[in-house]
C-alpha cells in the first residue's frame, strides 16, 4: 500500500516536472516569436503552439497540485468541523471531486479521440493536427483523475493519512 502510494506520488511529481519543462518551452517559444519578428523571419504558428504548450503544461500539473493541497476550497464553514463529521464531509468532497475529475478526464480523452478520427486541424497558420496537443492534455486530465481517486481511496482505507484536522499540506499559494 505504502509503496504503491510512493510510486503514484512519483508519477504525479514527474507530471509536475514535465509541466515545468513545458513552461520553460512556452517562454522560449514566445521569445522566439519576438526575435523572429525583429529579424523579419516567419515564426510559423508560434502563438498557436504556445497555447497548446500552455494547455499541456497546466493539465500535467493538476495532479501534483491536488496531492500537495494546492487547489482552493472554501474553508469558512468546514474548518471548525472535527472528528467523524469532518470525516463524512471529506468523503462527500472527495466523492464529488472524484466523479467530476473522472468525468472531465473521460471527455478530454473523447475530445482527443474525435479529433484523431476526423483528422481535425487547428485554424491557425500551422494547421496542426489537433489530436497531437490534445493527447497530452487527455493524459494530464487522466493523471488528475487518478490522483483524486487515489486520495479518496486513501481516505477510506487510511483516514489518518489525509485527516485535515491532523495533517496540513503546503496549502494553496494564493495570489
Amino acid at each position: 500500500m505504502n509503496s504503491l502510494r510512493q510510486a503514484l506520488d512519483r508519477v504525479y511529481l514527474v507530471g509536475a516536472y514535465l509541466s515545468g519543462l513545458l513552461l520553460i518551452l512556452l517562454c522560449a517559444l514566445v521569445i522566439w516569436s519576438i526575435l523572429a519578428r525583429l529579424l523579419g523571419v516567419f515564426a510559423g504558428g508560434a502563438s498557436d503552439v504556445a497555447g497548446y504548450v500552455m494547455a499541456t503544461s497546466t493539465f500535467m500539473a493538476l495532479a501534483y497540485t491536488f496531492r500537495s493541497q494546492g487547489h482552493i476550497r472554501v474553508a469558512l464553514f468546514i474548518q471548525k468541523v472535527m472528528g467523524a463529521k469532518r470525516r463524512a464531509l471529506e468523503y462527500w468532497c472527495l466523492g464529488i471531486m472524484s466523479a467530476i475529475s473522472v468525468y472531465l478526464a473521460y471527455y478530454m480523452v473523447a475530445l482527443a479521440e474525435e479529433s484523431y478520427e476526423w483528422e481535425e486541424r487547428s485554424e491557425g497558420a500551422d494547421a496542426m493536427l489537433l489530436w497531437i496537443p490534445q493527447t497530452p492534455v487527455a493524459i494530464g486530465s487522466t493523471l488528475f483523475a487518478m490522483a483524486v481517486v487515489h486520495t479518496f481511496a486513501e481516505a477510506i482505507f487510511d483516514y489518518d493519512s489525509v485527516d485535515p484536522n491532523k495533517t496540513s499540506g503546503e496549502g494553496p499559494s494564493e495570489i
Partner: protein
C-alpha cells in the same frame, strides 16, 4: 418542472458545493454540468471538453503562467533588501518617516509582480524587522503593509487583471494601461493617510533621520535594475511593441538576469521557482475551467439576461448600482477568495454591467479594488494570513490594524466613481 424551481435548484447546488468545501473548480464544473442538464439539450460532456480546450489553449491566457513565473523568480531574490535600502534615505524625511517605505516599496514591487500576497511577503520580509527595531508602532507597520500589498493586484502586471480580461474578453494590455494611474493614486492616498496620522500622533513615532544618507546615490543606483525591469515589461506594453504575453516572457528573462546578477540564482532556486509557478498556475486554471463552463451554462439558464433586463427596469442609477455591487463584493469576500469572486460573479454580472453602460476597463479597475478590500477584512483575507505568518500577532490585531486602509480604499472607490478618467484616460491616449 417550472423554470423558477430549476433556477433555485441550480443556484442551490452551487452554494451547497462551495459551502461544504468542495474544491472551487470542481464545484463550478459540477454546477455547470447540472445547469446544462436542466436548461439545455446540448451534449454536456462534449460541450465541456470543447469549452475547456478552447479556453486553456488560447494565446491570451499564456500571459498568466509567464507572469506567475516572473513573480516566483523575483520572490527568491534579494529585492526586499534592495528596495528597503534604496528607498529609506529618501522617504524618511516625510511626515510618518519610514512607514512610507512600506507603501513605496509595495508600489514598486507591484509593478514587477502580479500578486498581492507576494508583495506583502517580499516587502514585509525586510521592513517588518527593520521598522520594529526602530520602534515604529506595530499597528501602523502591519496596517500599511496590508493596505499597500493590495497594490500588487492593481498596479500592472496583475494576475487577477489577466483573469478578469480573459473572462470578459477585454484586452489585457489595455487593462494594464487602465490600472496604472489608479494604482499610483491609491499609493499616494495611502501615503497621505500615513502623513495625516503622524500629524496627530507625533509622540508615537521615533525620530526620523537616522538613516545614513552619505551613500544616497550609491543606494539609488542599486534600484536601477528593478527600474529597468519595470521599464522593460510595462514600458514595452505601453509603447505597443509587445503584447502582454511577450512582455511577460521578456520579464522572465529580465528576472533571471537580475537574479543571476544578485547571485541568488541557483539550480535549486530555479527549479523551486518553476515548480511553484506550475502549482499556482494549475490552481488558477482549474478555477478558470470551472468558471468558463459555468458561464456557458449560465447563458442557458437566462439568469444573466434577466438580471441585465431587471437593471434597466428598476432604473437604478449607475451610482446606486456601484454602491450595491461594492457591498455585494465585500460580503462575498467573507467566504470566497478574490480570484473565485471575480470569475464566479462575472459569469452572471458581466451582461448587467455592460447593459448599465459601464466602461469595462474602468469596471476592471474598480473590481480589483473592491475585491482587494474584501481581502483585507476578516474572516478570509490572504494579506492578513501572510502578515499573521510573518509577525505572529493574532488575527484580531492584524485585522484592526488594516481597518484604516480599508476606509482609504473606500474613499478611493468614491474618487474613482467621480473621476472615471483616472482609469479611462491612459488607455485612450496610448492606444491611439
Amino acid at each position: 418542472m417550472t423554470e423558477t424551481f430549476s433556477i433555485i435548484l441550480f443556484l442551490g447546488v452551487l452554494f451547497v458545493l462551495l459551502g461544504t468545501g468542495v474544491w472551487v473548480g470542481a464545484a463550478l464544473l459540477g454546477t455547470a454540468i447540472i445547469g446544462m442538464a436542466l436548461f439545455s439539450t446540448a451534449p454536456i460532456g462534449d460541450a465541456m471538453a470543447l469549452t475547456i480546450w478552447g479556453e486553456q489553449s488560447s494565446w491570451t491566457l499564456t500571459a498568466l503562467p509567464l507572469f506567475i513565473w516572473m513573480g516566483e523568480i523575483l520572490f527568491r531574490t534579494k529585492l526586499s533588501e534592495t528596495l528597503f535600502r534604496g528607498l529609506a534615505p529618501f522617504l524618511q524625511r516625510l511626515p510618518g518617516g519610514l512607514l512610507h517605505v512600506n507603501i513605496g516599496a509595495s508600489a514598486i514591487f507591484a509593478a514587477i509582480s502580479g500578486s498581492s500576497a507576494a508583495t506583502v511577503a517580499t516587502v514585509g520580509k525586510m521592513s517588518i524587522p527593520e521598522l520594529t527595531r526602530r520602534k515604529y508602532p506595530d499597528r501602523m507597520i502591519i496596517g500599511t503593509l496590508a493596505g499597500a500589498g493590495t497594490l500588487g493586484l492593481l498596479i500592472p502586471p496583475s494576475i487577477s487583471m489577466i483573469v478578469f480580461g480573459v473572462t470578459v474578453n477585454e484586452s489585457i494590455a489595455k487593462l494594464f494601461m487602465a490600472a496604472m494611474i489608479p494604482g499610483v493614486c491609491l499609493a499616494i492616498l495611502f501615503m497621505l493617510y500615513v502623513a495625516g496620522w503622524s500629524f496627530f500622533n507625533k509622540g508615537k513615532l521615533p525620530k526620523a533621520g537616522d538613516e545614513p544618507s552619505e551613500n544616497k546615490l550609491k543606494r539609488l543606483f542599486e534600484l536601477l535594475p528593478v527600474m529597468l525591469l519595470i521599464l522593460f515589461v510595462i514600458g514595452s506594453i505601453y509603447a505597443g511593441i509587445a503584447t502582454a504575453t511577450e512582455a511577460a516572457a521578456l520579464g522572465v528573462v529580465g528576472a533571471l538576469v537580475l537574479s543571476a546578477a544578485q547571485r541568488t540564482l541557483s539550480l535549486a532556486s530555479f527549479i523551486e521557482s518553476v515548480l511553484g509557478s506550475v502549482r499556482t498556475t494549475a490552481m488558477i486554471m482549474l478555477i478558470l475551467m470551472g468558471s468558463g463552463f459555468l458561464s456557458l451554462a449560465m447563458g442557458y439558464t437566462g439568469i444573466p439576461k434577466a438580471l441585465a433586463e431587471g437593471i434597466s427596469e428598476w432604473q437604478l442609477s449607475p451610482l446606486m448600482l456601484i454602491f450595491i455591487l461594492t457591498l455585494f463584493y465585500i460580503a462575498l469576500g467573507c467566504f470566497l477568495d478574490g480570484l473565485s469572486s471575480i470569475v464566479l460573479t462575472m459569469a452572471v454580472i458581466e451582461p448587467m454591467v455592460r447593459a448599465a453602460g459601464f466602461d469595462m476597463l474602468w469596471f476592471g479597475v474598480y473590481l480589483m479594488i473592491v475585491v482587494e478590500m474584501a481581502q483585507i477584512t476578516p474572516p478570509i483575507g490572504f494579506n492578513l494570513f501572510v502578515l499573521q505568518g510573518m509577525t505572529g500577532k493574532d488575527m484580531g490585531f492584524i485585522a484592526r490594524a488594516a481597518i484604516p486602509m480599508f476606509f482609504v480604499m473606500c474613499a478611493f472607490v468614491v474618487i474613482l466613481v467621480i473621476v472615471p478618467e483616472l482609469a479611462t484616460w491612459l488607455p485612450g491616449v496610448l492606444s491611439k
